[in-house]
């Protein structure tokens, strides 16, 4: 292959490393109104009165909107970027009189500059009726405090939601007789695991600018992963027709799922719609940490039954998920905690997976890389590691006995067949690369420090089965260069480049021959957006098919120009030829623009009836200071089966980045609330993502299966990579100190004081 499976530089790389102005705030009109949000200091309150007159008297103030401007009985909306009808409930108003978490929007404030708006915010007087908040998600279900008591709350899908019970979703699924399996098991592991509402912490915070276009339509330019969903969300929030809205994205400074929720777009959209003036909003880091779309906090009760030979016979999982004040991605994330952890164990005879997703008065959760699988895999993989320890069995050996293989049916994965799988090879590779037999379980370094190892496995999906849609439009321009239009969003993942690589492979051209135009609702073919590990697999396949179709069009016109039958011609990327006669692509392109009516353009839409899982194995070597409890991952080794890596470099950096996010979640990234519902970790000073001094090395290998449904055998990689560090690091710490931790992050204090608490 010439371009696929090649480590080609990203098409935008040199622009980015030389600091060119390509992000939202670099290109926003200079005369934008500055939009800020006055936020609730209370976790649960009703706005009784709000006085904006004094604030509006400030020179340069443009508008202040409050709940009084927004019909409170109108249809609600969700900010979740999902295919319609969204599983996430319609539980929001643009501005709600009832504020439901500390940071909920009380007023939209717009003025000529930041200083004016800041001053105006101080002058707005709000009187609240403060209500008792519901902060503990353990007691949320059927609590007397209702987070959404309103009657215009609406659930569009049968996800088991009931606002009168604080339920955002409820689901049950099972196969076989789980209780019988436990009764017959030699060993049952039974624990509750807890993960926090970690933040994606992309370096570019949420931001959007809006203008009115030449046709009187609202033009929204946003740092978003989901331009098409965003258009619907804005239409729903503002109650205006979708035809009046255009959404496009510039370069995005990271997303990781955060920008799969339209956290900020509706506010400047409303200001521009009302004032007809350009407006922009840029979330502060504090807003991005306190009023955004973090991971769902989950508590998972795992029961796992096995034989004394180490065969996992059954897994029972109950997940309680905390969606916070609003239900974005609540019903869907929770499913992955079971459906993307339990299927790894191919010998199990039964499973049961029950879940509740509850509302509380804290910040709404959203989509974060891994999307529930991360939480579930921490629980299930930790339980399996504990099983291995209990049986005095090497965790690799135990995995080898249990894993699913290619061709197996996965009952807990909606009965899908495992169409491509190199999990066995991943196990072997990681085992050898980290020198497991030499390092497992622990080595005393003789200086108060020990080095230990731990491992974990993971899977994810590749797009949402029979839901996600990816499309591509390819056209030939003069001189014979191509334009590839996509609705998927490159957020640093490199999909513009990867998709061009796929097109170049089919069209037999160079990367320079293809320009990529990304994500504009007016001009891109429809795409659900870049999330759910869908872009390479779903949109990539659309590109492959589209390029094949365009090739046919080129041949058709080439044949016409050569005066022969289309069945006799061939296109080699440069010329269409038949026998000794040939015509160049350049001449065909020129001809297409003069006196011919064959379109050198094709659009193909793709969806997939399966979601082939990528697989991964990871192992951590940690150094633990037994006295201080300081723990550092000095080496992390992982092997990924993402099918064919379209661009091995970009796949590798995805893996490395995801792994460090997982390590952060395991060791330092915490979210805590005080008794009134304020987040303590509200800045990069308090929420500690790893710095480069916090990690030794990360080494990634690829063990590629070949997925026939994917483009050139590819599956996804973006999400699976975050999952293994949680159980691997936790088990390494167990091997170091002999105590298991069931809650993340595992801080130095927990490690150092573990023997003292016993």
């Amino acid at each position: 292959m010439k371009t696929v499976n090649q480590s080609i530089r990203k098409k935008d790389a040199m622009q980015l490393v030389t600091g060119q102005p390509v992000y939202m705030d670099d290109i926003a009109p200079k005369d934008c109104l500055v939009v800020k949000l006055l936020r609730s200091p209370y976790a649960n309150a009703i706005v009784k009165t709000i006085q904006t007159e004094n604030a509006m008297k400030l020179p340069g103030m443009e508008a202040i909107y409050t709940w009084e401007d927004i019909p409170q009985d109108a249809k609600r909306y969700t900010q979740a970027g999902q295919t319609y009808p969204e599983p996430s409930p319609y539980d929001r108003l643009l501005i709600d009189r009832h504020v439901r978490f500390v940071g909920d929007v009380v007023a939209i404030v717009a003025g000529q500059d930041e200083k004016t708006v800041d001053q105006a915010m101080k002058l707005i007087k709000v009187e609240y009726e403060v209500l008792e908040p519901l902060l503990d998600f353990h007691v949320a279900k059927d609590n007397k405090i209702l987070v959404h008591p309103e009657d215009n709350w609406e659930s569009l899908c049968p996800v088991g939601a009931d606002n009168k019970r604080n339920l955002c979703a409820h689901d049950e699924s099972s196969e076989g007789d789980i209780e019988k399996v436990f009764a017959e098991s030699d060993v049952v592991i039974d624990h509750v695991y807890h993960t926090k509402a970690c933040q994606q912490t992309m370096m570019e915070t949420f931001r959007t600018f809006c203008t009115m276009d030449a046709y009187g339509r609202l033009n929204v330019v946003s740092s978003t992963q989901i331009v098409f969903h965003c258009r619907r969300i804005i239409a729903n929030a503002l109650h205006i027709p979708k035809s009046m809205i255009r959404v496009s994205k510039p370069r995005i400074g990271g997303g990781f799922g955060a920008k799969q929720t339209s956290v900020c777009e509706v506010y400047p959209a409303y200001v521009t719609w009302m004032t007809k003036k350009p407006a922009k909003i840029i979330f502060t880091r504090e807003e991005s940490m306190t009023a955004s779309s973090p991971r769902h906090e989950m508590e998972m009760h795992v029961r796992l039954g096995a034989t004394k030979e180490g065969i996992v016979k059954g897994i029972d999982l109950y997940t309680l998920s905390n969606t916070g004040a609003y239900g974005e991605h609540g019903p869907t994330t929770v499913g992955l905690s079971g459906h993307k952890s339990i299927p790894l164990y191919g010998k199990a005879e039964a499973f049961r997976f029950v879940n509740d997703v509850v509302y509380t008065n804290i910040m709404s959760a959203g989509a974060y890389r891994g999307y529930g699988a991360t939480q579930g895999l921490f629980a299930v993989e930790s339980a399996v590691n504990e099983l291995a320890a209990k049986l005095h069995m090497d965790p690799f050996v135990l995995r080898e006995k249990n894993i699913i293989h290619e061709g197996d049916v996965m009952p807990a994965y909606y009965g899908q067949v495992n169409t491509s799988c190199a999990l066995d090879k991943c196990l072997q590779t990681v085992h050898d690369m980290i020198d497991w037999d030499h390092k497992y379980p622990v080595r005393d370094m003789g200086n108060g420090k020990v080095r230990s190892v731990g491992m974990g496995m993971a899977m994810q999906g590749s797009g949402i089965t029979s839901v996600d849609v990816g499309s591509a439009t390819l056209k030939v321009n003069d001189d014979g260069f191509y334009t590839l239009s996509i609705g998927a969003a490159d957020m640093g993942t490199g999909c513009d480049t990867i998709l061009a690589q796929i097109a170049a492979e089919v069209l037999d051209c160079t990367m320079e021959d293809i320009t990529v135009l990304g994500a504009d609702t007016d001009s891109s073919p429809y795409d659900s957006g870049s999330y759910a590990s869908s872009t390479t697999y779903v949109t990539g396949k659309a590109v492959e098919k589209c390029a094949l179709q365009l090739k046919e069009q080129i041949c058709k016109l080439g044949a016409e120009l050569l005066g022969c039958d289309v069945t006799t011609v061939e296109f080699d990327g440069k010329n269409v030829s038949t026998g000794a006669k040939r015509i160049s692509l350049e001449d065909i392109a020129t001809a297409s623009m003069c006196g011919h009516s064959i379109a050198l353009e094709a659009t193909v839409t793709n969806t997939s009836e399966i979601s082939p899982p990528p697989f991964m194995v990871g192992a951590a070597e940690v150094e633990v200071d037994l006295e201080t409890g300081e723990t550092k991952v000095i080496d992390y080794v992982a092997a990924v089966d993402c099918g064919t890596p379209i661009n091995p470099n970009l796949a590798r950096v995805q893996a490395e980045g995801g792994i460090l996010q997982g390590i952060g979640m395991a060791l330092s990234e915490n979210i805590t609330y005080d008794a009134l519902g304020h987040v303590a970790e509200n800045s990069l000073m308090q929420y500690k993502i790893p710095s480069r001094m916090d990690i030794g090395h990360i080494r990634v290998a690829f063990e590629s299966s070949y997925e026939k449904e994917g483009p050139f055998g590819a599956k996804s990689i973006g999400e699976v990579v975050i999952n293994t560090p949680l159980p691997a690091v936790a088990d390494a710490i167990y091997n170091a100190v002999g105590k298991r931790f069931y809650e993340l992050p595992i801080t130095p204090e927990m490690v150092a004081m573990s023997d003292k608490n016993v």
């Binding site: 800041d118 006295e627 201080t628 300081e630 060791l667 330092s668 805590t672 303590a680 970790e681 000073m685 308090q686 500690k688 790893p690 710095s691 001094m693 916090d694 801080t747 130095p748 204090e749 150092a752 004081m753 003292k756």
Partner: protein
Amino acid sequence: MVTIREYKKSESLEEAWELNQKKSNRILGGMLWLRQGNNVIQTAIDLSGLGLDTIEETDKEFRIGCMVSLRELEQHAGLTKYTGGAMREALRHIVGVQFRNLATVGGSIFGRFGFSDVLTMFLTMDSYVELYKGGIVSLEEFAKSKPDNDILVRLIVKKEQVHFAYQSVRNTQTDFPVLTCGAAKLADGSYRFAIGARPGRAVLFHGIPENLVTGTNLRGSAEYRKHLADVLVKRTTKLLDEANMTGEER
């Protein structure tokens, strides 16, 4: 973000002092802490034109101007040699090089921040502050006092026959410390320890720390901090004893 109505680059300490007597006026250090929060400052007083950004070393002492950056302290050959690398160890975890190029020693010490590695390290040494009106005061005393409207002009570190060691524990490498410990072993064999990030201000102990008061915040509990103090005192003592035996700089 802080609001500053007027900016005054002072031409003399007297002028700066007079301006600083007004409650709404503030002296600028590195601006790293001052910029945070929504304070309104009438006049921001800048001392950066007064030549207070030098480190002078003599046989007897170091004289360190209040506007010297943490990065300059960290890279100063004389201080590195005198502290056996402890000064560098105390500073290298603080956020990053760009931060330490801005943060001033005067701002760090005057702020008497609980989390301060800088205060811990200077307390470990025989340090004094020179206040514009208050004269020369031992750092130990200054560290206990409440911030007032005087100006910290420079720090003076008197040289001793001594070995230093510095250790801290952090949840992540560039985070605030959970506990800091500076240790000194004097020529007569006695020890001196400064323990900071308790999370309260660093305190100095002449001899092995006793009755250390610790508290709880986001980064650790009082109990864990007590435990860490024991560990770090033990470890720094061991380092110092080894240094004494080998005559090595630590």
